[in-house]
Symmetry: C2
DNA sequence: CTGGATCCCTCACGATACTG
DNA sequence: CAGTATCGTGAGGGATCCAG
């Protein structure tokens, strides 16, 4: 069962040998936001067979990119190792490219709010953040996630933040795509939300958000 | 002939829909260094069938990433569009990851010196370059390429540079992997080559070069 | 009920022969 | 030299089945 390889002594080809298989990078994407369970991954990656998901998880574990987290209340969590977390830089680069040059969003395609969380981080500009320190909580009926800016760095997570300065009663898309007047903060100042938003920008092309 | 798609409204998935197929990113890698002809690409991507190469070229052209360059002395050149060139940032990120965390180089694997040219660019640190301005020519029996640093920016190319400050009688690997004493400059000062080399560093991990 | 293995069918890929 | 045509193989996709 010799795994298929490009057999090239080139860093890009070697990276592709490891994370170039179908679904692999999307798996890493999901795990970049938070550790996940098998079923959560299966739901996010609609269309993947359970056999393929299982196979990819084993391959990426063997490659030292993900690891089984067995302790705690749930068994079988999957998270990223250091090597896996190091992929974030490359993933965010690809996200930026996808936003600027990729195809438009399609009706009928699957969508998850945690992907927007990652996309938002991809658009973060440290210089624009300045000394801003804020934590924004996004909250709808079927999604809860937060993003915090501090010391020109971004952190994010699912669920409820420990202490949010602004609580938005809507999704990330609602906030960034909607009209400026219609910013729902059920808690916190609109001005702080405005400063939060100004720390993000899409380089190279402003056509799409 | 509905092309296979992840059908996710996520920038990474959309990017993967376009450049995630097998060989696609390696094709872009080769074209990042220089426009190429069909036969050159086929030789670089050992193992690709001519039908697949042809198919990938058409797909990437349809996606607006590459373009046929028909004018000039040769017909049938392939080069990158603006959207294609914009992939360089992401490709270099993946190269850095591959260098730091990917598998070791394997004996028997294919190797080309122009790949090292791209890898070298991936390791460039603008801050370390300072006001350095230099053009280094690498030259062996079966390879000629150059890299220039100016205004904290890198340019590179195949063949002979217009005006080289340093001419190295060896490959990039020879220079960076070899012992410091054994730096062959058939022309130019070893000191300038040393300053050139000091502008490159692998972040995160120093284990491998 | 969740996590995962097993089967089968389809199509993308890889190799080669062939054509303009 | 630049592709197209053809065909065998194996990875991917989907359903079902099994274990804890």
């Amino acid at each position: 069962m010799a795994k298929r390889s490009y057999k090239q002594n080139c860093a890009l080809a070697q990276a592709s040998d490891v994370i170039g298989d179908r679904w692999s990078l999307l798996l890493v994407r999901d795990l970049l936001v938070s550790p996940r369970r098998f079923g959560e991954l299966q739901q996010s990656l609609r269309g993947i067979g359970t056999n393929l998901l299982s196979s990819r998880l084993r391959e990426l574990e063997a490659a030292g990119i993900i690891e089984r987290l067995d302790g705690g209340e749930f068994r079988h969590h999957y998270g990223l190792t250091e090597a896996g977390k190091a992929l974030e830089v490359a993933v965010l680069s690809l996200v930026r490219w996808g936003l600027a040059y990729g195809p438009e969003n399609q009706k009928g395609y699957h969508h998850q709010n945690d992907w927007d969380l990652l996309a938002l981080k991809a658009l973060f500009q440290a210089k624009r953040a300045g000394d801003l320190s804020v934590c924004v909580q996004f909250k709808t009926d079927d999604f809860a996630g937060w993003m915090a800016i501090e010391n020109q760095r971004v952190r994010m997570g699912l669920g409820e933040a420990d202490s949010a300065d602004v609580i938005v009663d809507g999704t990330i898309k609602d906030v960034f795509d909607g009209p400026p007047s219609n910013r729902l903060c059920s808690s916190g100042s609109k001005e702080k939300l405005q400063r939060f938003m100004s720390a993000f920008v899409l380089p190279a092309q402003a056509e799409r958000v």
